[in-house]
Symmetry: C2
Subunit: 362 residues, 2 copies
């Protein structure tokens, strides 16, 4: 492992438990019945731990959408042709894709990354090109990429996340585009969790049961041909791909190194987090799961990372759309903790039992 990558990973610190304790104590004194903000209270305490501040402030939000192609599409695993990857990148850049529309509406900066699209892309001010290769190799026949390329993906993602954090984003969403990448994600999920390809393989953009069965068989073959080592995140990434998944794993490491919250999107974004987590379990402290995707393997990913998603809206689009959609919920959680009045400040009568509890606890 490259010294730079090892250094970055070694420098990632756990969430600040002191700030989390102070946040919990503050939550108890805010003008509301204890626990009545439900999951928002948990998220607010996590944010306090991430930012090291019991009054977490969210100034900026960004979504990093990494795109790449997958050689495994040659096996007929998807309903869309490979050219859709590059076409959708252009759609992101012109603002017509779902994640672009949502980002514009919800005040989220969109950063598009060409991690390795098969076709050439024009220069564009919003396009960040890191291009590890022109799509991965077919994982049903061998490794997706070399170990060196896998490291390049991670370092590129780290750099992008660090720049994004430095430019003012406190919440960073991880999204992706890549025809064939649910196949890679199913293989990654099976490799790390021990679940079978039948359990981790869902429809993706496919159309019918026949295609689904074929896809699970390809995932099985990818695992047999490559024998990825689940204790080695770099090995799994290099063998199963893809470039965009590696970049997003790097984005998570970079966000954690900068103490920023990483909002995980769906299944493919989640598979990238499995790789980041294998490289650095502490990264888990910085992850917030946005939604539960309708894609079958996603529940397995969430369980493995012990993440409880905020939204459950039967979405299965990817692109970071679920992560962007959850951002206002995360913002509201932070704002309530930081800006709500306490019982004392507002002159609101507390319940007698809560006063006792607050005295004991705080």
């Amino acid at each position: 492992m490259n010294r730079t990558l090892a250094d970055i990973i070694a420098a990632i610190q756990p969430a600040d438990s002191g700030a989390m304790r102070r946040a919990l104590s503050r939550q108890r004194n805010l003008t509301k019945p204890p626990g009545s903000l439900g999951r928002l209270e948990d998220v607010s305490v996590q944010l306090a731990g991430i930012f090291g501040d019991e009054r977490p402030a969210i100034r900026g939000k960004a979504v990093i959408v990494a795109a790449a192609d997958h050689g495994v599409v040659a096996q007929g695993v998807t309903g869309y042709p490979q050219e859709v990857t590059v076409q959708m990148v252009l759609n992101f850049l012109s603002g017509g894709a779902a994640v672009s529309v949502m980002s514009r509406r919800l005040g989220v900066r969109q950063i598009i990354v060409d991690a390795g699209v098969a076709a050439d892309l024009p220069e564009h001010p919003e396009l960040h090109s890191v291009r590890i290769g022109k799509g991965t190799a077919d994982i049903s026949k061998g490794a997706a990429m070399s170990r060196g390329e896998a490291e390049q993906c991670l370092l590129a993602g780290i750099e992008i996340a660090v720049e994004t954090a430095q430019s003012g984003a406190d919440l960073i969403a991880a999204g992706e585009m890549g025809i064939g990448n649910t196949t890679a994600s199913s293989a990654i999920t099976a490799a790390f969790t021990g679940a079978s390809p039948q359990e981790t393989t869902g429809a993706g953009t496919g159309r019918n049961a026949e295609e689904l069965a074929r896809k699970a068989t390809i995932v099985q073959r990818a695992l047999e041909v490559n024998s990825p080592d689940p204790s080695d995140g770099l090995d799994v990434l290099s063998k199963l791909g893809g470039f965009e998944i590696g970049v997003l794993a790097g984005v998570a490491l970079g966000a954690a190194s900068m103490r920023r919250a990483l909002i995980v999107d769906g299944f493919i974004s989640g598979a990238a987090m499995l790789i980041a987590h294998a490289l650095c379990p502490t990264v888990r402290d910085y992850l917030i799961a946005s939604h539960r995707s309708a894609e079958k393997g996603h529940g397995i990913v969430l369980s493995h990372l012990n993440l409880l998603p905020l939204l459950e809206l039967d979405m299965r689009l990817g692109e970071g759309s679920g992560a962007v959609l959850a951002m206002p919920v995360v913002e509201a959680a932070a704002s309530c903790l930081s800006e709500m009045a306490t019982f004392g400040e507002a002159g609101v009568s507390d319940r007698d039992d809560n006063e006792v509890e607050a005295t004991i606890g705080g």
Copy 2:
């Protein structure tokens, strides 16, 4: 029934089915796999029907928080003293309450309504005073208010909603504050749905099983003493209260009359919708359920109105906090339908089967 109220109700039109058909057809041609935006697609089609436009635009958002007191608190049904109602109204006005913080963060105009708080309130530019009375009468001993007062509540809510719509709000959230109002809501829910007081009565802000059992007994007594007629919304409102619930029922009727979407908050807001729905079943077309509250009776309300909530975050605060939190999701749904590129516009290759389907369907 007052002619004005009857006129308003008679003028409420169903959602525009033509706009909904055009919206469905447009959804099929947007650059994403069909159905991949899940619940957002359903919401977007509903919005098309509400606004009569297959490209729904949301310009402004407002939350109307109605507050009032409940005579039934004399029966010891809550964990907080009655003075908390007025204290929280002041907390809304100074911006320290959860709904105030969220509204500020998410760009939602906050409108506070004194529908009948027991204590006097100071003049305040953001406080809309309609004050039907100084709290309702104790429903365990008789009617909450007169039939004339119930009508006054509805007309006041209608007027506020119409003004709010005219001032630019396309999404209107309904929130409330009133110590004792879960007791009234449990009684209303039992009256309309036939569920037992044990089924509709939850903890509210109460503390233990003893208080809960006592509360269910009081709800039972309120139903026995008053015999509300579920076919007559005005009768149920006048007998069980409260003033803020009546105002919110009026807000729903007013929003529907102006073809605006009404975002329902939790249990109490939902109970108000049961009254609006009893007066005018068409109002259902304009309701969007924001979240599933942790308060026990809420599921019964949602089932009765056939509403599926967008969020499930174990919240149980009221104030309109869940409704405000769901607004960005509703906005994102509208924006995706209105602003996403179609396959043709973006030059993205569609799946072959979808092209056929689109030809047949659209």
